[in-house]
Symmetry: C2
Subunit: 271 residues, 2 copies
């Protein structure tokens, strides 16, 4: 098994991708009037997943696709870096790419390149590039007092969510409507706090929709929901579940009038 | 120390980078008539470097910038993912980004985003995006029998090379002149073999310029030279040191008439 033989098996062509795997770089030809958005997410064994846990490649790609959805963008291609421990044999690597390509194909995301190496812990870094019509990307910093706060679906964290479906269609439909948008990767409380800090506002929640079996605590603070959290002016009609209202001040969160702590699944703080 | 406080200290603005660190994605606005090139390189403690070895962030970024140079491209921005072990304290992380930004600023590469996590081994993945005028990227697959083979400087591997300077200017000057180009990251023999396979040609070397103190073996098979290796039609004038001639056949390499093995520093095979 070496890098060339693994990479040679992967599909190479995609619209706008002039050159995929097999050179020093992939080449992408932007279309007139498009902005490109970029995100990258690390996925480390023992931190983000256990060896025998749910599908690793889909979750690794879904994390980045969720960021693309939160910008209102359409994914175009990804680069996948994989550091493999000894237990990850040739079959494991083939299964990894096969699982990754399943979600990549479903979402029309080309696998354009990457890097392979080895390590003691499996480590995966997935970069995704997406595109939006110029100037329409959804940012975190546009929420204003009086805006309504929405989520794209019920929350509860990874324990209650067997599969992750990045909200790409939902994100695209918010372009020109939402004043701010972020994906919920580390819990509603922490990600709402991030949105509030970026927009220099506060938030009052009055209703948090829960996944079956989930508690309010899990919805507020557990990771890997990957629903979208967004705001819109009071008179703007948007799809989703309304959960509260943006208020003045900076970064103060309440739920049913009680203060909530901006804590969640911070991969970095848990070291 | 958390992700927000680390990232808040980093510079944010750059030409064409509409939005840098601090949202779900970075936003890049392509210029009319540019192709974008993308590369990503893993850098793993104990595999690519030892903890106390030469500057880690510069080497990690230089690897990717060398790929950008090999496409004849100009770097625009990078995303840096960093999984940190316990020994990497706050000061180490500050020094890492300070070292990385030194080379990033020198080469006008914006730090547009990334991800931070923890791991047992320090692992760093650097994605760089560069740009070239549409259709001018230097690929590996255009070498033809009779073309002259060049390198951008003397070789010998990382033991003989205190600092790495990605050959960005040299690469740009080859646009429209070189028929194929690759950077020498894993030794002349292995990277020449890759170029020959992509172009479906063979290569006869007659002269390999050596760094002071280096042997021919080291120049052929050691990693991290990061010089450019390129080919040009016999009558095309290009800068560089001529080292041989492209011949027919596929992937056969000789040096002074003797066959050489396409072996080098393959991070993946050494597991």
């Amino acid at each position: 098994m070496n890098e060339e033989t693994i990479l040679a098996k992967l599909p190479r062509k995609h619209r706008n991708l002039v050159l995929g795997i097999g050179d020093d770089c992939a080449i992408y030809r932007p279309k007139a009037g498009e902005d490109l958005v970029f995100t990258t997410d690390l996925f480390v064994e023992g931190v983000h997943f256990e060896q025998v846990s749910r599908p690793i490649p889909q979750r690794a790609l879904a994390r980045s696709l969720s960021d693309i959805a939160a910008m209102g963008a359409t994914p175009r291609f990804c680069l996948v870096s994989l550091a493999l421990p000894d237990w990850a044999n040739e079959q494991w690597v083939a299964d990894f790419f096969s699982g990754l390509l399943e979600l990549a194909n479903e979402t029309n995301t080309a696998l354009a390149g990457g890097d392979l190496s080895h390590a003691n812990q499996l480590t995966c870094d997935v970069m995704v590039c997406g595109s939006v019509p110029r100037g329409t990307a959804l940012r975190r910093d546009g929420a204003r007092p009086g805006d309504a706060i929405y989520v794209s679906g019920p929350l509860g964290g990874w324990r209650h969510r067997p599969t992750v479906i990045p909200r790409l269609q939902e994100g695209r439909k918010l372009r020109g409507k939402a004043t701010a948008c972020i994906d919920i990767s580390d819990g509603l409380a922490l990600d709402l706090h991030r949105l509030c800090l970026a927009s220099k506002v506060s938030a009052a929640l009055d209703h948090v929709p829960l996944l079956e079996g989930a508690t309010l605590e899990q919805a507020l603070h557990d990771g890997e929901d990957y629903e979208l959290l967004y705001t819109a002016a009071p008179r703007t009609r948007v799809a989703g579940i309304r959960i509260g209202t943006i208020t003045s001040g900076t970064g103060l969160l309440t739920c049913a009038g009680q203060p909530i702590a901006p804590q969640g699944y911070d991969h970095f703080d848990r070291r």
